[in-house]
């Protein structure tokens, strides 16, 4: 078993930067960097190109789904389907056939276009490895020395089973993420439900013998006032510490009254965030919180939901329905976070 490492790190702690830096360190090692979303993947590629011009030949960069489909499902589909050249691409929208048994693998996992349903991809990959006598992992061991998974909190369901296989392999695996920012999931499988979001910490703890654990609570992005606010949302994690040297006036958490909105926006020019598209943002141009993930802004202005407003008043995270959304929204900002009340 190779050395595996999980880095659980706060927003703005340069997670992706860490992945890129380590992946580029040794040109003699064959490295895979994978992450769930295409947006994040594009950003990883941009940052590598920013550093070294082009993605080096020893580094492969692919989304989690391309990785599973091209490196596990297609090569060893025969072990599950008993035929070759069947699996095509990914069906991102549908769900596996409820009325088919898993033994009828073609009907269970694939649509009529021979694309595999997203909630079955990692499940299929695990079955293929078991049926082919460990060939999936054997092949990956020949292909990669080190696998980096960014935004690992997005992996759910059978993804975790596959991650277990990788942890047991000769490949060194480094997973990086922040369960507090679990706003996306690769699929909606009920498998391993309890390990979603903050529960991922428990999953890692159960694997403390096969995977080292490192927690980083320093934020290079957010001012200390924002860090303090964000720490209140997830008391089970170490409190965030800002590494920003000093901040220039008017920083921190602002409550903005509706009638002051215009002058506030004119003064601070914040990025406006909303929970959903249907939120009334008083005519201001806004983006969904989910979309803002991974981005950095000087200042943000949030149109909060009702539970968020309650939290701002009483500071009790227990009533928050989507704490990760509030956490993501607040930690986008370097200097100030405004809430429209």
């Amino acid at each position: 078993m190779a050395e595996n490492l999980a880095i659980i790190a706060a927003a703005g702690s340069l997670k992706t930067e860490t992945v890129i830096e380590r992946a580029l360190k040794d040109p003699g090692k064959r490295v895979l960097i994978t992450t769930y979303t295409r947006e994040n993947l594009a950003q990883i590629i941009r940052r590598i190109e920013g550093r070294v011009g082009v993605v080096p030949a020893n580094v492969s960069v692919m989304t989690w789904f391309s990785f599973l489909i091209s490196q596990a499902v297609r090569p060893y589909q025969c072990a599950v389907l008993d035929r070759i050249g069947f699996a095509r691409g990914l069906n991102f929208k549908g769900k596996h056939q409820k009325f088919a048994k898993k033994e009828e693998a073609e009907r269970y996992f694939f649509d009529s276009n021979r694309d595999i349903y997203r909630d079955g991809v990692s499940d299929f990959a695990c079955i293929a490895d078991a049926r082919a006598g460990g060939s999936v992992i054997g092949r990956l061991e020949q292909r990669f020395d080190h696998i980096y998974i960014d935004e690992v909190q997005d992996l759910v369901g059978y993804d975790l089973e596959f991650l277990d296989l990788l942890f047991k392999s000769k490949i060194a695996v480094t997973v990086v993420g922040d369960p507090r920012q679990h706003t996306f999931s690769t699929n909606t499988s009920m498998k391993n439900k309890k390990y979603q979001g903050v529960g991922f910490l428990d999953w890692l703890k159960e694997r403390s013998s096969s995977c080292d654990y490192e927690e980083r609570s320093t934020s290079a992005r957010c001012s200390q006032e924002i860090c303090d606010f964000a720490s209140m949302i997830f008391p089970e994690f170490d409190p965030l510490v800002s590494t920003r040297e000093s901040s220039y006036g008017q920083d921190g958490i602002h409550i903005v009254a509706q009638n002051n909105l215009e002058s506030y926006v004119a003064k601070y020019r914040p990025k406006v965030l909303r929970h959903r598209r249907n939120v009334n943002t008083c005519g201001l141009e806004a983006i969904n919180i989910g979309v803002s993930k991974g981005c950095t802004y000087d200042r943000v202005l949030i149109f909060p939901t009702k539970p968020m407003r309650t939290f701002i008043e009483d500071g009790d995270p227990g009533k928050l329905k989507a704490p990760e959304k509030l956490y993501v929204a607040a930690t986008r900002a370097c200097y100030s976070v405004g809430f429209v009340i």
Partner: protein, 532 residues
């Protein structure tokens, strides 16, 4: 590097499997046995190109194996739309090393977990409607409708591959056909191009472009262009001039030609051209693994230059895999029987599959005799030169033609080595008639030596009858009588014993006498049977 290949319905092959050796692979076979098809299949799987063009664009019915096409056409005639068009398939297996792990998976014909590349051209179900109306139309189907085929180039992982992702470089050199036309040919161009680094290529393009300016600024050209401009004003108001084309489609490759001793390559003799091409390919320094495919290097070469060429090929096989098809016993001898794969009508066959003592025998023999077995349509094996001459005569008397005109090769083997030749001929599916002396033993005892070939229907052993004598000479005497032979040899022996003794002492002279005799010669029954 490359471990083996499996081919279905491509060119000469209905179904074909061959394992490769590291380093050198010599491919020998009759015309039409598939030597060229094999080299093309390897190159196709590595590059997806066929004769320099993307295979997807050149998928013609003639690339489908003729046997497969015939049975498909018969199938259509009998079963109409339910007939299955043949699938063209090439599975090229690589050695299982980390270098090739990206190509690894089970998507090959035998579902083996191995790295490799697959070419597959098959009916595309999206054309079902068109195909149905094609089949049911009045015109009879006479070709495989490859226009309704889809083409795939995949790794055994099941993923599409691109030229860049293939970790092996391939160079194909066909020395038998020189395809030099405008500029250098595709393969040569590629060879030269890959020896240049990025900076070289940029510089070459820059200089080529600047040539255009120099050309147009030349006083003579300027004057000509001015004149052209004047006269053309009546035809067009645009400016007409002569210039060098430096657009994308006309890059340096089409106008700049390799020169040897200041002669453009296409003006050099065939031998020089193919020597240059082969050596350029062999001397490429590549970061990737390298496969070199050479078709008939002996073409256009004098014995002396072939000697040099073969020597260089042998030197440069280290660290690369070289496939050579050849007709030349010289090449064969120099490069070694161990590396030989024989293509015949049956499965391909390696000499190393033979028993150690048989292999040892052929290693000592000049390669020529081995090649004759491989290349002949039909073979008559005889024990010694005098038997050969008599068989020639017997064949002519029967067929009014010399054996060679029918593609029958009469091969004289030394002593008791007939079974060794049969050991090569049998797996190749060659038809062989072996003429064997009884040497005083019963026919059954002699035939026992050939028991191993009993199950090969195309191998026939003809043993002389011991009651008519031990060897050819008494057999001839028995068939023709003393008077006839005395006349043929111009002798006057008074007894059979004396005549037989003379014949035994002058075997070749007597055999020549038989061959050239004006008189009718009666042949012993076992020889009659062998030429029948």
């Amino acid at each position: 590097m490359l471990k083996k290949i499996h081919i279905e319905n491509f060119r000469a092959f209905r179904k074909f499997d061959l394992e490769f050796r590291d380093g050198l692979n010599l491919i020998v076979g009759d015309n039409d046995a598939g030597k060229t098809s094999l080299l093309e299949a390897i190159h196709l799987a590595l590059t997806s190109r066929f004769r320099g063009r993307p295979f997807a664009y050149d998928l013609s019915p003639h690339l489908v194996n003729q046997g497969a096409a015939k049975s498909y056409i018969a199938d259509v005639a009998a079963n109409g739309v339910t007939a299955h068009p043949p699938v063209v398939l090439i599975d090229l297996f690589f050695e299982d090393s980390d270098e090739f792990a990206d190509l690894k998976g089970e998507n090959n014909h035998c579902k083996e977990n191995a790295p490799g590349l697959r070419i597959r051209a098959a009916f595309d179900p999206r054309y079902s409607a068109e195909y149905q109306s094609f089949i049911t139309s009045d015109a009879p189907v006479s070709l495989v409708p490859t226009e309704y085929f889809e083409f795939e180039w995949l790794s055994f992982a099941g993923n599409a591959v691109s030229g860049r992702s293939v970790p092996v470089n391939a160079s194909l050199i066909d020395a038998s056909a020189l395809r030099l036309h405008a500029g250098a040919d595709y393969y040569l161009q590629k060879t030269i191009d890959e020896q240049l680094d990025a900076a070289d290529r940029v510089e070459l393009s820059r200089v080529y472009r600047s040539l255009r300016e120099i050309f147009s600024k030349d006083e003579a050209i300027a004057a000509i262009n001015e004149k052209l401009g004047e006269t053309q004003k009546e035809v067009t108001d645009k400016e007409l001039s002569l210039s060098i084309d430096v657009s994308q489609g006309a890059s340096w490759e089409s106008s700049i030609v390799p020169h040897l001793n200041e002669l453009p390559l296409q003006f050099i003799g065939g031998g020089g051209q193919s020597m240059l091409k082969i050596l350029l390919a062999l001397y490429r320094n590549l970061a990737k693994s390298h496969v070199v495919l050479i078709e008939e290097p002996e073409n256009h070469q004098s014995p002396a230059s072939l000697n040099i060429l073969v020597e260089k090929i042998r030197e440069r096989c280290d660290g690369r895999q070289v496939f050579i098809s050849t007709h030349s016993s010289f090449v064969l001898n120099k490069l070694g029987l161990d590396n030989l794969a024989l293509l015949g009508e049956g499965n391909p066959f390696r000499l190393t599959e033979l028993d150690a003592d048989v292999l040892d025998y052929f290693k000592k023999l000049p390669g020529y005799d081995t090649l004759r077995v491989v290349l002949a349509d039909k073979i008559i094996l005889v024990e010694g030169p005098s038997d050969e001459l008599v068989v020639q005569r017997a064949y002519f008397d029967r067929h009014k033609k010399r054996p060679i005109e029918d593609g029958v090769d009469v091969i004289s083997v030394r002593g008791l080595s007939t079974p060794r030749f049969l050991a090569i001929a049998a797996p190749l599916g060659k038809t062989v008639h072996a003429v064997v002396d009884n040497d005083g033993k019963a026919i059954a005892d002699v035939e026992a030596r050939f028991a191993a070939f009993d199950q090969h229907a195309q191998i026939h052993v003809h043993v002389s009858d011991p009651t008519d004598g031990k060897t050819l000479e008494p057999q001839l005497l028995k068939a023709n009588g003393r008077d006839v032979l005395n006349q043929i040899f111009g002798k006057g022996f008074a007894s059979d014993e004396d005549l037989e003794a003379f014949m035994a002492d002058h075997k070749t002279t007597c055999a020549l006498g038989i061959l050239e005799a004006k008189e009718a010669v009666k042949m012993p029954p076992y020889i009659e049977a062998a030429v029948g």
